[in-house]
Amino acid sequence: MLVYAARRILGMVVVLFAMSAVVFAAIHLLPGSVAHMVLGEYATAEAVAALELKLGLRDPILVQYWRWLSGVLRGEFGQALSIDQPVARLIGGALERSAALGGMSLLLVAIMGIALGIHSAVHRGSLSDRVLTMMQYTLIAIPEFFWCTVAIIVFAVWLGWLPATGYTPLADAGLLQWLRHLILPVVCLSLGLTAHVSRMVRSSMLEAIESRYVLAARAKGVPERLVLLRHALPNAMLPAITVLAIDAGILIGGIVVAETVFSFPGLGSLLMYAIQNHDIPLLQAGMLVVTAVYSLATLAADLASAMLNPRIRLGAAH
């Protein structure tokens, strides 16, 4: 298990290095000079020259990459171009708010998805199972930004129950106000993913229920409730964890969209701001941080399923 964990962590570090190179290369090697990207097409030659000197854009590309990377390794992301603030501070605050949004969504998805999936599997073929299956097929396909738009129309405009946009810090406004800004985005983000997770849990739970070890447990007289909880569920959880990790990637996409719709000042909004304002230091750092978060989520899922799966835990596989 330790060897497996060490290998996976090493793999993650390699991926992050590679990603830093890809992000850097995409921005610096593509046609069109960086200075023009920042200043616009019609910038004067003097302005371009001044900016290139300021950002060190005339140095060889590898020197520039090393300067950026060594800064990142020391935790220095430099100064944002479009706002007079250090990139690290901008990203730190945004990351914290996005983490609250993403964490709550993932928690809701996990709880609802697993509960509904188990319910469907145990009551296979019943009316509620069929209704849930139809809902899964439908909800998986509906985009977050549609839910966000409908949620704003219904709950903010018509009913006036919840704020349509914005954010208030937990420390200033208290728990209730903070939650009021989070409810709509969290629910909108969770609908599609809950459908996906519940569907995976249902099919893996069904597989477990029909397996021989569950038959054996029933045969020796274990109560049905215990059969489900102790024998079927742990095995059904493995695919659920994998799917939650995949969904973390989809969730990141959803967060970018939802933060834009709800004007929520998180990492997604910051990335969009960096793209619109051609703020390259901010964009590079933001993309790297998002990749790191995603890698960590994948790593956590891999380690969790390794711990649940004796074949990996005991080193038989790999």
Binding site: I140, P143, F146, V150, I246
Partner: protein
């Protein structure tokens, strides 16, 4: 043909496949002929009839410039279709050959291809799109390419894993013994056996390609105004949600109907062709 095989052949076509396919066919037709059957010019401003609610004259109302929402929806349908089918086609054209090559040659070729794929997959899907569209000016073609690239790794992994099991079978050994060319073996012997699984995956993938593409358009990184891509229309309707919700709801509902129908086709095909794939993940 054995009894089991016959039974399998006669398995009835799932209802969701029929219903989904019918809706998709209608929407594809509307998407193709939409610009010609639109009742109004989709780009014509009409200041006097701004933000009119749905009526007999304007079935889906008018937007903030007085443009007919129904006409704009009809004119913009092909964007979503182009993104869904185009991006999936790109992921197939790049992903399937890569998977076949990796499975056939094994060794270092396999290692190199799969490490690159691992790297691509370790980036959240939306970031690939954002990265490409941040450094180049946005447009329909680039959105399609960006979304297509996102789904290359899935196609490569799937093709490789199915191809590996096909390559281990006797008829491949026979073909190799006949000294058939590599291209012949991969194209004529392996691909036909890999195809059913890939078709199911591709049909499910179209839903997510449309989802991701319209999300990128929604963020302003797809077709640019005055294009009436549905995601973009929803984004542009946001300032008027309180006064004229139909501007965003109408294209939103159309997008949902299209996506749900395409997904029904994918799920139905999966039930029909490959029941063992039930509940596979998407990404």
């Amino acid at each position: 043909m054995t009894a089991v095989a016959q039974k399998r052949r006669r398995r009835h076509v799932p209802l969701i496949l029929v219903a989904g396919a019918a809706i998709v066919v209608v929407m594809v037709l509307l998407g193709l002929i939409g610009p010609w059957i639109a009742p109004y010019d989709p780009t014509m401003f009409a200041v006097r009839s701004r933000m009119q609610p749905p009526s007999g004259l304007h079935w889906f109302g008018t937007d903030e410039f007085g443009r007919d929402v129904l006409s704009r929806i009809l004119a913009g349908g092909y964007y979503s279709l182009a993104m869904g089918f185009g991006a999936t086609a790109i992921s197939l054209v790049i992903g399937v050959p890569l998977g076949l090559i990796a499975a056939f040659y094994r060794g270092w070729v396999d290692d190199v291809i799969m490490r690159i794929i691992d790297l691509m997959i370790s980036l959240p899907p939306i970031l690939v799109g954002l990265l490409i569209l941040a450094v180049t000016s946005p447009g329909l073609g680039k959105t399609i390419v960006a979304v297509g690239l996102v789904y290359v790794p899935i196609m490569t992994r799937l093709t490789r894993s199915v191809a590996l099991s096909v390559l281990a079978q006797d008829f491949i050994e026979a073909a190799a013994a006949r000294r058939e060319k590599t291209v012949y073996i991969l194209w004529r012997e392996v691909l036909p056996n890999v195809w059913p699984t890939i078709i199911v995956e591709a049909s499910l993938r179209i839903t997510f390609a449309i989802l991701l593409g319209s999300a990128l358009s929604f963020l302003g990184l797809g077709p640019q105004p005055p294009a009436s891509e549905w995601g973009l229309m929803i984004a542009e309707s946001r300032p008027f949600l309180d006064r004229a919700p139909w501007i965003g709801l109408a294209p939103g509902l159309c997008l949902c109907v299209l996506l749900v129908a395409v997904n029904f086709v994918g799920e139905g095909l999966r039930d029909l062709l490959d029941p063992r794939m039930q509940g596979r993940g998407h990404g």
